[in-house]
Symmetry: C2
Amino acid sequence: MRDVAVIGIGIQKWGELWDRSLRDLWVEAALNAIGDAGVDRIDSMYVGCMAPGLFVGQEHLGSLLADYLGVCPIPATRVESACCSGGLALRSGFIEVASGMSDIVLVSGVEKMTDVDGGGATYALATAADGDYEVYQGATFPGLYAMVARDYMHRYGLTREELAQVAVKNHANGSLNPHAQYPMKLTLEGVINSTLIADPLRLMDCSPITDGAAAAIICPLEMAKDLSKQPPVKVAGVGAATDRIALHDRDDFCEFAATVHSSQAAYKMAGVGPADINFCEVHDCFTIAELCVIEALGFFERGTAGKATAAGETALGGKMPINTSGGLKSKGHPVGATGIGQLHEAVTQLRGAAGKRQVKDARRGMMQNMGGSGGSTVCHILEVV
Amino acid sequence: MRDVAVIGIGIQKWGELWDRSLRDLWVEAALNAIGDAGVDRIDSMYVGCMAPGLFVGQEHLGSLLADYLGVCPIPATRVESACCSGGLALRSGFIEVASGMSDIVLVSGVEKMTDVDGGGATYALATAADGDYEVYQGATFPGLYAMVARDYMHRYGLTREELAQVAVKNHANGSLNPHAQYPMKLTLEGVINSTLIADPLRLMDCSPITDGAAAAIICPLEMAKDLSKQPPVKVAGVGAATDRIALHDRDDFCEFAATVHSSQAAYKMAGVGPADINFCEVHDCFTIAELCVIEALGFFERGTAGKATAAGETALGGKMPINTSGGLKSKGHPVGATGIGQLHEAVTQLRGAAGKRQVKDARRGMMQNMGGSGGSTVCHILEVV
């Protein structure tokens, strides 16, 4: 397998973008990535998108977006794994470049979520859970993650304040990110007193509904310096895994086994461990998810992530900065784009271009992108070459 | 890149399977493929499916189906390119095996189409066209393909009888296929006098709405003999391409440029040309599509496929047998499964196991699987080793 590098990244400011269509958003991000890399062709492209049929009545995104970018007849593949569709698009593009099948590949993600009628977004998102045994019985994602939070609180003594600190920290980071949907800072009281959604989760524990896209250009590492003036960032580790889709079928609500398995595969490929990672973007769809995930990744012992977060260990300048971008919570969560949005942040950090949210001496970063309540997960490790 | 072989295939009798769910259908096909190959593990899996969110309210198929097959935590990727989602799943699995990332990969497709409320299936299928500029203006796929048929008739003098002969031939083949949804034979008069759908296309020019799944096991060619008792079939050529998604944006309604580009890529990889192919499964979603496609693949000169079909050249025993399985028209068209259904037929022919529909001395076969009105296409060439 050939080594693979990222040589271009593109995004826009995410938000409720009422005057933009899915194709507009995606083409803007793709052109930004192509411009950033400075390449004059693409050999193949991948699009991560969760539910464009339900959100905007459009499937067949490979053809549509290759057409609107003006790159037909190149192969175009849409991949879907709920909210980790973007991470899976990166993995798929990585394999295509590593195999020798293609040299310059566009990997991307997009979701247009706001332009749907009442109740439509919640219904569309619920299709990431088990339709027959969760959704038809009334479960929604806030409800499922609330059960995880209750279980975690019961077992490990997590406090409401510790949980809220995840949101406070991520909004502090997001306030430094020009692409963030909600760059306002939050207070502990603001989170704890926000509207109750599914006890114990409140509105400010939940990631938002977002329109947005992100894209990147990858190529063989050995070609990177000829193809682009950007400093290449190596994709050193890739891992993907699945878990039982329904929460009630799992042995342990708080373990997030697909994160354990996919991160171990990524660590093994990169030849590193958790202690070698300088920062990590994780899938904080709800505040409780961030705590479970950073334990599953091996950064903290089981049951200790809440106290570590409250102590500032995951903040900028802490021993393991988590979600310097603001995370899903502040940057936004256009579900299919989120994994590539994480890639955008990681590459920005590794280029030393993150401005006020820059992690000092960032040489190796990680991304963890998760579908549903953890039924699928993709992890990547990136390195400065 | 490593050479790749198919060592197992699985399917069920397709049809209106009211008592079966999407997950049931898929697991049956997957277990049939695993049993046929005789393997005791899978390293990764791909599922081609077009619109499970719209048809059955379920996305996140990678997690769901890995779970129900009992193979978590392996990576599972759903790919979508409308009606060529299955072909794209094979291409994706091929790349993963060829790259060295995984050894034993399950490639599959599924669609559960009948269990949707009134009008739902036509709406779901229309999301493969350009939502903004075709569907919202009233176009449906029968209407789009009717325009292709009218253009073809006008330019090349195709007769109504020649067009109908595609359906008559495919149902004659399908009558010999135990997995076909509609194995009844048709007469020329039966096609020409069937209900008018979109002039000149009639009901018997159109492929049906179908529930079904299909699956296959692929692995490195050099491991095939150790892993399975089945005679390995080599995936010799792979090609994928895109075209403008909307019919009105193309230079030529009848050219099917994505079929031209993808087949040329597959021929080049396999080091062969149209004259070296012994039989071909093509995407006859409408009778007119088969005529345009077999010209785009290089089997017949532009404008001559109708006369060749009427002369029996594409029938069993003709010089280029097309759709020995019965094609989409008779075997059925569960859209995400169709490309893997084509693979099932091609491998069956190359094993010499097709019974009364066996192509004599079949050594090399081709499959062409197409999305929408030709906005995306995937071609594969298979060979006896």
